[in-house]
C-alpha cells in the first residue's frame, strides 16, 4: 500500500499539543544505519527474497538503546570489507539473469525497469532510469542530476569493459550500496520559516526520521513524494501521512524493532545455557522465547490496542511447541494464542522465558540480573556496575547451608561494599525465583521451599503476580517507555533539553490510557520531532550534506 493511499478517507486521530513553548528541538544526528534497517530497506526496494547477510559490526548500547548508539558509531575498515562483499552479493542478485536448474529467478526482468536493445552494449537511457529510481530509495532523497550522470557514465564504462549491460549496472549498484550517504543517516537541517531563528529537518530528513521510527526502514516512494511536495511541513497533511504509516502492516516491523532494542534482545544472539542444567533449553526455545515476547507485544499494543502497563499483568501470549516444553503446557504445531490459567504464576512479560532466561547465569538463576534488567530496561533506572575487585567465591562455591538463591545473595547484604547496589536489584529479582535459569517453574531449590517475597521501591510484593502489578503501577514504567521511544525516534541519546517534550508526552500518554499507537502518533506529529538545534550542517545540498554532517560528528 502506498503512503498516501486511502489516507484522506481515514479518520485522523487528534494529536495533542505536546511541544511546550520553550522547547527548541532535538539535536541533529548522523547515525549509522542498523543491520535491520539496511535489510528492511533492501527488501523493500528489491524484494524480500534477497539475501542481505549481516555485514555490520554490533553497535554500542547507549542510554538504554542500541539505536541511540548508532549516533556515535563509525564504520571500520574490516566492516567496510564485509559491506563490500554484501553489496556485491546484493547487486549480483538484483541483476541476475536466473537459472532454471538452480531455481534462481531472473530478477533483472522485473527489478530493472527497462531492457537494453543489446545486453552486451551500453544503454545509457535505460541505465539512467534504473539508477534514478533506485538511488532515490537508497539515498532516501533524489540524487542531483550531475551525480546521476556520473553514475550512468560509470555503468557505461562497466558495460563496455565487461561487455555486459547488467554487469555494468551491477557495479554501480554495488557502489551505491556502500556509499556513506546510504550507510549514514544524516539529519540535514534548514531554517524553519514558521519559526524564524529556529532550525528544522529538511523534508527528506523528516521523511527518513518518520520512516525509521515507525517502520524501521527507509522511506517508501509515496513518503518521498510527500516530502518532495512539502506535505510533511503541513501539519494536517503530515497527520494524515502519519496515520497511514501507523495503519500500515509495516508498523509491526517498527514496533518489533523498538522493543527488541529496548529489552536488549540482541543478547539472545549470545545466550547459552548449560545443557546439563537445562536440557530443555534448545536453540529453538531460545529463538522462540524472543519471538514470543515480540508477538505478545504486537498483539497487545497494536492489534488489541491495550494499555501498555497491562503487558506486565497479562496472561495472554503465544505458544510454540519448543516453548511449551519449558512452560510445561500442551500446545499445537506452529504459533497459537495461549492464555495462562488464572492461578498460574505466569503473569506478564517478567514471567516469560525471554526475561527470565536472559536474566540468569548459564546454569542458575540470578535475582541480581533480573532486578537489574527490570530497573534498567523497563524503568530506565541506572544500576551502578559492580566494583572491579568483587569477590564471587561465595556465589560460585556457596556454603552447603545456602540452598536457595536467596540464601546466596543474602551474602551480598552482609558485605557493605556489595549491599549498596544489591539492595537496588535483589529484592525484586528474588520475587521471580520460582523460575529457574531457563525460566522453568519450580517451587523448591535443593529441597528448600523458595520464598518469593520482596519489594519494589517500597512496595511489598509476594510472588510474580504482585510484582507484575507493582510494575504496572510504577510511575517510571510509562515515563521510561516515553523516553526510550522519543530517543529511538529522534535517533540519538536524550539531552536535558529534551525534558520539556518528554514531560509533555508523559502527560499526554496518560491521557490516552497509555495506548502506544497514540504515543507513536503524538511523537511523530509533534513539532519537537522535526525541530532541531545545534545544527552541524545548515544547507540542503543532498550531495554534500550527508558527508559533511558525518564529518562534523
Amino acid at each position: 500500500m502506498s503512503c498516501s493511499e486511502g489516507a484522506s478517507e481515514r479518520k485522523v486521530a487528534s494529536a495533542p499539543a505536546v511541544t511546550p513553548a520553550d522547547y527548541h528541538g532535538t539535536v541533529a544526528h548522523v547515525r549509522r544505519i542498523t543491520p535491520e534497517q539496511y535489510q528492511n530497506t533492501v527488501h523493500y526496494i528489491f524484494g524480500r527474497d534477497l539475501e542481505v547477510g549481516n555485514p555490520f559490526a554490533p553497535l554500542r548500547r547507549t542510554d538504554g538503546l542500541v539505536a541511540a548508539g548508532a549516533a556515535s558509531a563509525g564504520v571500520t575498515t574490516g566492516e567496510l570489507q564485509q559491506l563490500q562483499r554484501s553489496a556485491s552479493s546484493i547487486a549480483a542478485q538484483v541483476v541476475d539473469k536466473g537459472n532454471i536448474e538452480q531455481k534462481t529467478p531472473s530478477r533483472r526482468d522485473f527489478l530493472v525497469p527497462c531492457k537494453p536493445a543489446d545486453p552486451a552494449v551500453a544503454d545509457d537511457a535505460c541505465a539512467a532510469k534504473f539508477i534514478s529510481q533506485t538511488s532515490r530509495l537508497l539515498y532516501r532523497r533524489p540524487l542531483p542530476d550531475a551525480r546521476v550522470t556520473e553514475l550512468v557514465a560509470t555503468a557505461h564504462k562497466g558495460t563496455t569493459d565487461l561487455k555486459d549491460f547488467y554487469a555494468g549496472l551491477g557495479t554501480v549498484l554495488e557502489g551505491m550500496l556502500i556509499d556513506p550517504k546510504v550507510l549514514l543517516i544524516a539529519d540535514v537541517v534548514e531554517p524553519d520559516p514558521a519559526h524564524p531563528g529556529k532550525q528544522r529537518l529538511d523534508a527528506y530528513s523528516l521523511a527518513s526520521r518518520l520512516s525509521f521510527f515507525l517502520w524501521n526502514a527507509a522511506p517508501d516512494d509515496a513518503l518521498l513524494k510527500a516530502a518532495e511536495k512539502g506535505d510533511l511541513f503541513d501539519a494536517k497533511k503530515r497527520a494524515k501521512i502519519v496515520e497511514m504509516m501507523i495503519a500500515s502492516p509495516r508498523l509491526e516491523d517498527g514496533v518489533r524493532a523498538f522493543f527488541d532494542d529496548m529489552f536488549g534482545f540482541e543478547d539472545f544472539a549470545n545466550l547459552a545455557k548449560d545443557p546439563t542444567a537445562y536440557p530443555m533449553m534448545t536453540g529453538a526455545v531460545i529463538k522462540d522465547a524472543r519471538e514470543q515476547t515480540l508477538r505478545t507485544i504486537v498483539e497487545h499494543l497494536l492489534v488489541e490496542k491495550k494499555d501498555y502497563r497491562d503487558l506486565y499483568t497479562t496472561r495472554s501470549t503465544f505458544m510454540s511447541p519448543a516453548l511449551a516444553t519449558v512452560y510445561q503446557v500442551p500446545t499445537k504445531p506452529g504459533w497459537v494464542p495461549y492464555e495462562f490459567p488464572k492461578d498460574s504464576p505466569r503473569v506478564g512479560l517478567l514471567t516469560q522465558i525471554s526475561f527470565l532466561a536472559l536474566g540468569a547465569h548459564p546454569a542458575r538463576s540470578s535475582p541480581t540480573y533480573r532486578g537489574k534488567a527490570l530497573r534498567e530496561k523497563m524503568l530506565c533506572q541506572k544500576v551502578p556496575a559492580p566494583p572491579a575487585n568483587v569477590d564471587f567465591s561465595a556465589l560460585e562455591n556457596p556454603a552447603a547451608s545456602h540452598r536457595t538463591q536467596r540464601d546466596r545473595v543474602d551474602f551480598h547484604l552482609q558485605n557493605p561494599v556489595c549491599a549498596g547496589c544489591h539492595k537496588i536489584t535483589d529484592p525484586m529479582g528474588l520475587v521471580l525465583e520460582n523460575f529457574d535459569g531457563a525460566g522453568r517453574f519450580r517451587t523448591t531449590e535443593k529441597g528448600a521451599v523458595i520464598d518469593v517475597t520482596g519489594t519494589l521501591d517500597g512496595k511489598n510484593v509476594d510472588g510474580p503476580a504482585q510484582l507484575g502489578q507493582a510494575m504496572h503501577d510504577h510511575p517510571a514504567l510509562t515515563s521510561c517507555l516515553v523516553r526510550r521511544l522519543y530517543s529511538y525516534g529522534t535517533g540519538g541519546p536524550l539531552t536535558r533539553g529534551d525534558n520539556p517534550a518528554i514531560e509533555a508526552l508523559n502527560k499526554a500518554f496518560g491521557e490516552t490510557g497509555y495506548r502506544v499507537p497514540d504515543l507513536l502518533r503524538m511523537i511523530a506529529n509533534s513539532d519537537a520531532f522535526y525541530e532541531v538545534i545545534a545544527t552541524p550542517v545548515e544547507q540542503k545540498s543532498a550531495d554534500a550534506g550527508a558527508a559533511q554532517s558525518a564529518a562534523a560528528h
Binding site: P279, A284, M319, T325, P330, K332, N434, F441, G447, G463
Partner: protein
C-alpha cells in the same frame, strides 16, 4: 542415571526418593507432575526393540553361533554361479514364497534359559524362559526364533539399529499412550490406557541426543483409527499393567514404510516415573507370523539382510516351527509369544476434536500450580 534407578524400582524407589531428599511424605504427595492434568497423562514412544536377552559374546544363548544369511546360502547353493533368473531372482522369489522350495539349511535357535518378557499363558513350561530378575515362565518364542540372528541383535544389528533410530526420526511409527482416570501414578486400581498413532515430531533436548518430556503430539485419527485401542489397566507401586487385548502395534520400517505388528493378547507393563516425565517397560503378547514376516519381506531387502545373517526363507520356517499361540481352525499356531522393550517420555496428547487447548486452559487444572 541415578534418578532412573530410583524410579524404575517402583515402591522401593519411591522410598529411596523420600529418604534421599529428606522430604516429608506430605511434601512428596505434592510433587509437581506437570504432565498429569485432570487425571490424564500422555506419553510418546521414544525407543523400542524386540525383547532379546543378550550376553556380550552371545555364547550363552547361541552356543551354536549365529545364523548364516543370503551370502552364505547363495555361495552354498550356487558354487559355480548361474543365470540371474536361476540364482538371484530364485532367492528373491524364495523370500516371498518361502514354501515353494525346500530349505535344508541349519537354523540356529536360542538355547539359553534367560529371556525378556511376560508369562503370557500363566504356566511354567519346558520352552519358557526365566527373566533376568528371576521371574519364571516367561514366554518369548520370537526371541528363540530371531535371537541368534545378528540382524536383530542390538545395538548394531541393522534391524535393531535402524528401527530404534526410526522410532525417533520417522513419522508413521509415532506411538502415543494416554492414561485417563488417573488418581495417582503410584497406586490406582483402575485406569484406562489408550494407544493412538500420533503425527508430530519429537522434540530433542539441547544435546540433540535425547527426546525431551513435555512436548505435545496430535492424535492422527483420519487414517489411523485402527491403531487406537483402549486397554483396562491398574497401577501398583508405580507400575502400570494392562489386561490382555488384541492390538496393532504401529511400526515403521525402512524410511517410513508404514506397517504394524499384529499382537494378540497384548499387555503393557510400564514403570512410571514419580514425576510423570518418563515410563519404560515392555509390551508383550503373541505376534502374528503374517504381520512379522510381512514387515521383513516388504521392507528389508536382501542387501540389508545380508549384513545381518538373515535368511528370510529359513526364518519363515522357524517362525512356524516355534509358534506357540493363537491356533487357527486346524490347530496350527499362527503367532509367537514375544516382547517389545519400550521407553516413553511424557507428552501432552492433543485430540482432533479439541479446540486449541492452550486457549481453553483456563478451565483446566493449572499446569504450574499457584504458589502455596
Amino acid at each position: 542415571m541415578k534418578s532412573m534407578k530410583v524410579w524404575s524400582t517402583g515402591a522401593a524407589g519411591a522410598a529411596m526418593l523420600l529418604a534421599s531428599s529428606a522430604m516429608t511424605p506430605s511434601a512428596a504427595e505434592t510433587l509437581n507432575i506437570p504432565g498429569l492434568q485432570n487425571g490424564t497423562i500422555g506419553f510418546v514412544l521414544t525407543s523400542s526393540a524386540w525383547g532379546l536377552y543378550q550376553t556380550p559374546d552371545g555364547k550363552a544363548e547361541c552356543p551354536e553361533g549365529f545364523n548364516e544369511g543370503p551370502r552364505e546360502q547363495f555361495k552354498a547353493l550356487y558354487p559355480n554361479g548361474g543365470t540371474v533368473e536361476g540364482t538371484q531372482l530364485e532367492r528373491e522369489s524364495a523370500a516371498r514364497y518361502p514354501m515353494d522350495k525346500e530349505d535344508n539349511f541349519a537354523y540356529r535357535e536360542v538355547k539359553g534359559a534367560v529371556g525378556i518378557g511376560m508369562n503370557l499363558d500363566g504356566k511354567v513350561g519346558a520352552n519358557d524362559f526365566t527373566s533376568p530378575d528371576g521371574v519364571k515362565g516367561v514366554d518369548n518364542q520370537l526371541y528363540r526364533a530371531i535371537g541368534c540372528t545378528r540382524l536383530f541383535r542390538g545395538p548394531d544389528g541393522t534391524y535393531a539399529h535402524f528401527t530404534e533410530m526410526w522410532v525417533r526420526e520417522m513419522g508413521f511409527n509415532r506411538v502415543l499412550v494416554e492414561l485417563t482416570g488417573v488418581d495417582s501414578l503410584e497406586n490406582d486400581p483402575q485406569v484406562d490406557v489408550t494407544l493412538y498413532r500420533g503425527k508430530d515430531k519429537l522434540i530433542t533436548d539441547a544435546s540433540g541426543a535425547n527426546i525431551i518430556a513435555g512436548g505435545s503430539n496430535r492424535v492422527e485419527d483420519r487414517f489411523s483409527k485402527r491403531f487406537t485401542k483402549t486397554l483396562k489397566g491398574k497401577i501398583e507401586n508405580g507400575v502400570l499393567v494392562t489386561a490382555p487385548a488384541d492390538l496393532d502395534w504401529v511400526w515403521s520400517v525402512f524410511y517410513d514404510h508404514p506397517g504394524y505388528y499384529g499382537i494378540k493378547q497384548a499387555r503393557l507393563q510400564l514403570n512410571l516415573a514419580p514425576a510423570g516425565d518418563r515410563a519404560e517397560g515392555m509390551i508383550a503378547g503373541y505376534t502374528t507370523i503374517d504381520t512379522f514376516y510381512q514387515q521383513l519381506v516388504r521392507a528389508w531387502s536382501t542387501h540389508h539382510s545380508s549384513y545381518g545373517g538373515l535368511s528370510q526363507p529359513s526364518l519363515f520356517r522357524a517362525l512356524h516351527r516355534l509358534a506357540d499361540g493363537i491356533p487357527d481352525e486346524k490347530g496350527a499356531m499362527t503367532a509367537l509369544s514375544s516382547s517389545i522393550q519400550v521407553k516413553f517420555v511424557q507428552s501432552f496428547i492433543e485430540h482432533p476434536d479439541a479446540k486449541v487447548a492452550a486457549v481453553e486452559s483456563t478451565t483446566k487444572t493449572t499446569v504450574e500450580p499457584a504458589r502455596r
